[in-house]
Symmetry: C2
Subunit: 432 residues, 2 copies
């Protein structure tokens, strides 16, 4: 078989998968180790045809897939890999760019700058900020905090809310920084009055926390950070996407005074893993933290930017291609329409919960995630979740708020319809 | 257009690209900023068809691509994205797995374990080591050194040769460790007699350094590290691939006593960026450095492994799929045959250089990289390189050895033939 034939077969498989994903159980219905036990213990000696890989993907691997592309995937932060971006990944792998310095891929370097400038404008970020792509928000936040530490090597604390993402802890541990957790108010927002920036090199404001998508007061924190000489990093990994709609920009008012901000295009901007967008108005600090130019990477090119100077990795994949494809093939209008539809669906679900005796909304809902629970014990709520997920009809996750077990319904798939949300609600009520 | 139609068009473009890449100039012949200036300043408001993206990829982006898939790409470490792996990236993006814990993708989690166990066996690594994939060797080395620091928080130095990769410096800077550089011998190998492990939490042995692919003495360092209670990390990012051939395993004799080892499948194992394979015999130390389980990630699954516990990132892409495709579609025999052919071609090129008056071999050649120079000034050598790269006929890079400017010819593309190497040599001689 030729690459052409194998390629067309792969596209047919991909198209067929996307057509039938709605019929598959959302959460993989396998036991730990089950896939491993079905695979040979060693690689083959002789080459096998690609058709065999495709066959085993269908027969052996697929049952172990949790379907993130399923329209009733409502766990964590639901995502989408939009079709143009899927194909862009094929093209990126075909070109196999390794963009550690400009000359090794002018295309990947400059398209990344362009795509991030486009996206910055769509989100209402100030013009002129440096932007680049990291694999995940964990790495983006690590890079931002490394820059902060570089500027204030004497200040060894990072301040964030107790609802900040665990990636802040992970980055701080790597960097040898102490994390100072600030309590939240009744809406799970960082309490600015409880912030102490003494000895802190940075604060992290979260716009859209993981548990409830609550929104920390960015403007107040920006002012406090400026006064204290601390770096303000804004973790908008999920909710940053909503800023394509001007009506949500209240959520990061003051963003122009932040030092860095991360928005994951692979969360709510239809881009497949991995595409975490990091912007900063202080690129010099990132370069100071990361730039190292050994002899074997020196060139005479007169370039403004080698993107590996701004983060922990040297090798860089052509991730910008898929983001560029999404921004073009959805356009501002397409992105706005889907964000608005998701928020509308979440609001609808929230209404249903409020209207139904025996159920409660557990947190304010700024965007497309609803936190709710059955008015019953934690065990009963956990059991409901277990039953729903085991049914394969929908997949939700949970969190704990004020010591109580809470269910989360996160809408973020571009394939989710009102019918899908209604079906999830039916399954939830039937699981009581 | 449907996803199916767009997909088939994308496959046709990819197939046509691979058929004609040999005719394109290897190094992009554009000036900095040229691509950027040809793209609109903003994303479109309305959606555009994918066909327009594909057209612009061809007309606007392609001239800014440095062709890593070109058979006469001889710079840095030459690589290949093999056809089955390219298609696997399409499939991975279609499934869009986000494998931060087992249940979010049993498939990605277990296939990664299987593929790394297969590859470990192919390389002759001891059975039973934990293996997982990071994006790049920079991250793999960061993870290994974080584990080392975790075990010896009081010991703040990392020992490596002066020819170790800059990623060691980058990781150490992030981790707040001091790098202690050890001089090399006449063959650019770390001098074990000059090693001082006092106060060191780790040493890094390089098997295949970036400049010359020299090989540090792993067994001696392992013994020294054991005695000193320091972690031994082996950076075999490039040359580790050669271990699929038993005749090269002298190069990491003693590897079973190392604590961790990194081999980049995206360098010499035909896998597209990014696929850096990290193995360790001490997974507990990696978990101690990285594991954090917030409430929203707790499950009742009885799993042995959540791969995000072993490295800096939380979100994990389905990278194992492409590695699995490569191991199956090339097989042990296919991998061995290409490695051996590359080493044969490098040996041939080395002979030509030795036989030609006015040229010199500048370093021993353990694998598929030849370091050489014109017996002339550094400026003259730099000018030769400039002329060759500007011709578009071949792309080489350089390094500095013992204070002299040296050219490097790195063979690693599965598409490179003897004719390609001969043509590079012709172009080099014509550029004098």
């Amino acid at each position: 078989m030729s690459f052409r034939d194998d390629g067309h077969a792969a596209v047919e498989w991909a198209a067929s998968y996307l057509e039938r994903v709605r019929e598959l159980p959302v959460l993989a219905q396998v036991r730990p180790g089950e896939l491993r036990s079905r695979l040979p213990p060693s690689a083959p000696d002789a080459p096998e045809p690609f058709a065999d890989v495709l066959r085993d993907l269908e027969e052996v691997v697929l049952p172990a897939v949790t379907h993130w592309q399923h329209p009733r995937f409502f766990a964590y932060f639901a995502t989408t890999a939009a079709e143009p971006a899927i194909l862009a990944e094929l093209l990126a792998a075909t070109l196999n760019q390794v963009a550690f310095i400009w000359r090794t891929s002018p295309a990947a370097t400059e398209l990344e700058q362009v795509a991030l400038a486009w996206l910055a404008e769509l989100l209402g970020l100030p013009p002129g900020w440096h932007g680049h792509v990291e694999d995940t928000a964990s790495t983006s936040t690590l890079a931002a905090l490394a820059a902060a530490r570089e500027l204030r090597p004497d200040a060894r604390a990072v301040v964030c809310s107790e609802h900040a993402h665990a990636s802040v802890d992970k980055a701080a541990r790597l960097l040898g920084l102490e994390v100072r957790k600030v309590p939240v108010d009744e809406a799970f927002r960082l309490r600015a009055d409880a912030v102490d920036l003494d000895g802190a090199c940075a604060a992290v404001a979260t716009v859209g926390t993981t548990s409830t998508t609550s929104v920390d007061p960015v403007a107040v924190l920006a002012e406090r950070c400026e006064a204290a000489g601390a770096w303000l990093h804004v973790d908008a990994a999920y909710a940053g996407a909503a800023m394509v709609c001007p009506e949500f920009r209240w959520a990061w008012e003051g963003i122009e005074r932040a030092d860095s901000v991360v928005v994951n295009a692979h969360k709510w901007l239809a881009t497949p893993m991995d595409c975490s967008c990091l912007w900063t108005r202080r690129p010099d600090a990132l370069r100071a933290a990361f730039s190292l130019v050994p002899e074997y990477l020196r060139t005479t090119d007169e370039v403004e930017v080698n993107l590996s100077d701004y983060g922990p990795a040297l090798g860089r994949r052509f991730r910008a291609l898929k983001l560029w494809a999404v921004l073009r093939c959805l356009g501002r209008e397409g992105l706005q329409a889907t964000i608005r539809e998701h928020v509308r669906l979440a609001a609808l679900f929230e209404e249903w919960v409020r209207a139904e005796p025996g159920w409660q909304v557990a947190a304010p809902r700024p965007f497309s995630v609803v936190c709710f629970r059955r008015a019953a014990s934690d065990e009963e709520n956990a059991a409901i979740l277990e039953r729903v997920n085991a049914s394969g009809e929908a997949f939700l996750s949970h969190t704990v708020l004020d010591g109580r077990y809470v269910l989360r319904l996160a809408i973020g798939s571009y394939r989710t319809t009102e019918d899908d949300v209604r079906r999830a609600w039916d399954v939830l009520r039937a699981a009581v």
